[in-house]
Symmetry: C2
Subunit: 191 residues, 2 copies
DNA sequence: GCTAGCTTGTTTGGGATCAAATAAAATGGA
DNA sequence: TCCATTTTATTTGATCCCAAACAAGCTAGC
């Protein structure tokens, strides 16, 4: 067994042996496992092909993309759209701002809020970068027809919607009164 | 527009307006974008429902899972199976080892290699944890039938296979002789 | 006004992440 | 037997990432 890649069939055989005694939702397990495999593989390819020559990370690109599409936007909204926490966005925005790709402006009416926007320099970058990025998206999806891509996208959207609509409720139910142990990492209350 | 979540229709309208001038592979773009949205949402749910009570991170769980299924394995193989770099695995394995969930042993014939295995304590944890984890996998996939899950998994596997088979070649072609700028982060040559 | 409570963005702490550099061990050819 | 090459795992440095704590500002109710 050693020194060789495992095939999917072998893996499924091993899983079967180990999990024979458990009742399990096999198809759902396969879906979730492959979402992550695919996400990691795609991200790695896009970072190393389209993004690296422009010295952008995946997340930096996504944030820039959101601002390119939406124009000026509040940070909470950008974080949500980009799928990252607002704390993470603070750092990403700082990096992009230091490269003059993004500008930060105070909200005219509410001193707490901050507006982000893409700079002309950032727009120019996206205009050059986007076609190359999209070409790599097409490359990774080569084995699928356009229709299969849409079907895939719809299935994934349904999962995202399920979590947006019922995820929080579900986690609350699972806790059932008990309170969740705090994350191992994270800021501590000062004494 | 402000203060409200954007709907998918609104987003697609804005994308259309911004990208009207570009030729683009729309379906492939939708597929890739949703892979990442779904992966992030699913991972977040699973970490905060099934994993957090046991103080495991996503990656820690995946590594433990691989060892549970495969038994003793070499580190390079575990990293590949878990979809992380071998450098990352070194850290994860250290963490799991410190919690006595994983054991590290030298290879009997080759002093460079290291064998990882799950401890009895780790097995016990997985036996308790796995059913809960699988239940949450089923929860996130609620809107899809078993058949749709398999179809989804197959589409994603095709993408992974595409990258495994042709990704490296493609990146080489894109570079076309030029060498890729080094990553911004990473170890520096000492002077 | 004042102030308690809410809503923002930022900071913090611990970990995860990658790629390149490095160390250590095995291998092969002279 | 050497020693250069190859093949391992680990270390390193910069960045990403989250959640919880925090600070700053807004808003009701008095």
């Amino acid at each position: 067994m050693s020194g060789r890649r495992r095939s999917i069939a072998e893996t499924e055989q091993a899983v079967q042996e180990r999990l024979g005694g458990f009742e399990l939702q096999r198809e759902q397990m396969a879906a979730v496992a492959n979402i992550h495999r695919a996400a990691a593989a795609v991200r790695q390819h896009l970072e190393n092909s389209a993004l690296r020559p422009h010295d952008l990370t995946w997340t930096g690109f996504v944030v820039l993309w959101v601002l390119w599409i939406w124009g000026e936007a509040e940070t909470w909204s950008v974080a949500e759209e980009a799928g990252i926490s607002k704390g993470t966005l603070t750092g990403i925005a700082r990096t992009l701002e230091s490269r003059h790709l993004v500008a930060r402006a105070p909200h005219p009416e509410d001193g707490r809020r901050v507006l982000l926007s893409i700079t002309p320099e950032g727009e120019e970058l996206m205009e050059r970068l986007f076609p190359a990025f999209n070409a790599e998206e097409a490359f990774v999806a080569t084995p699928l027809s356009a229709e299969e891509c849409l079907r895939l996208a719809n299935g994934l959207r349904a999962i995202v919607a399920q979590l947006e609509e019922h995820g929080e409720e579900r986690r609350r139910q699972l806790l059932d009164g008990r309170d969740l142990a705090p994350r191992r990492s994270g800021r501590r209350s000062r004494p």
